[in-house]
Amino acid sequence: MPELICDGRTLRVAEGTSVAAALALGGDGCTRTSVSGQRRAPLCGMGICQECRVSIDGRRRLACQTLCRDGMRVETQA
């Protein structure tokens, strides 16, 4: 059961859970804040729309295309 840190909070999820799913379970479901200050969430779930951009260990990634790993740091404010 990987344990990750989402915006400073520890979250334990089942093996094979995507970051998008983890945020839906343990956060507000959003992955980022847009230029105009809106909270944005995954839409297509299949790597096309680019809505689910998120910072993982300091890098920009797609939450729907990334599986949770133990010790991952996920930031959704940027």
Binding site: Q50, R53, R59, R60, R61, A78
Partner: protein, 366 residues
Amino acid sequence: MADVIVIGAGIIGAACAQALARRGLQVLVLDAGLPGATAAGMGHLLVLDDNPAELALSQYSLQRWRALAPAMPNSCAYRRNGTLWLAANAEEMAVAQSKYLNLQAQGVACELLSRDALRQREPELREGLEGGLLINGDGILYAPATARWMLETPHINQRRARVGEVDGHRVRLDDGHWLKADAVILANGIQANELCPELPIEPKKGHLLITDRYPGKVTHTLVELGYVTSAHNASGPSTACNIQPRPTGQLFIGASRQFGTTDPQVEGWMLARMLKRATEYMPGLAQLNAIRAWTGFRAASPDGLPLVGQHPQRKGLWLAVGHEGLGVTTAPGTADLLVAQLFDETPPLAAQPYLPQRFLGEPVYA
């Protein structure tokens, strides 16, 4: 009833319409809503000096953009962030030096940067570049929003309609209706040949890519000088490093050029070649997340300069076409040239190099 009909609501049609409306004329702008270059392109405002006419038009236009900027709404995203031309080796540095002398002589503010100064200004650039040339007055803007802003000027009416035929100062819409005005301005970009098959305009395809937001990584628009020294043949596909920092923190990457295609599909091999070129200058780019790639078509004329002036064989029809990869930059200059000719005034810069006559022959009307 309009005094002038403008065909095309891209940046060129919009700039012409705004200039005419500010003279108090009633302007009708017709646009078919086709995917145009204004929505696709990079919106880099830059002085280019490949020949004196290109320099005159771009330098004049940059001054006009700087004068317009304070009145432009935020959505136009104008920034005067400067262009930094990158020299990879001594040969390219020599090109930078002669460019510097040429621009200085014409009164364009610029400065040469040494190897160290370059890295200091743009730490994301790879080590070992020879130096650079910074053009201070260059900038960027978001062209679709800027065109929309220009079209909001009083005395302009806009209509969604496709023109099927032009006959001097008359146009036939696709629904069969004819409209007429004192003058018709053709500013329909790459589709110009559909209405005037005699125009020597060819599509030149370009690929573009934009990244997620990475604020603060890049400050100036970074463009390689390599295209001057790399012996790429003029008709084959080519790429050049062009990295533009958007006000959002996104990085906007170009540039590619391909002739002989009108297929808008993103081509993987071309995109890969373009990105590889950009990473040769900024290696860290390879670690960033791209969010979209697309293509657009530049309307290229044989000498790379636009056609601005009355059509020599079709009285009443005025041309503002063939702006290639520089039409956002040269839109204000084009508009001023055209308006001066329409009003029979002395233009702010010599109109001669851009007259359609150079391809279409001498006027048949007096």
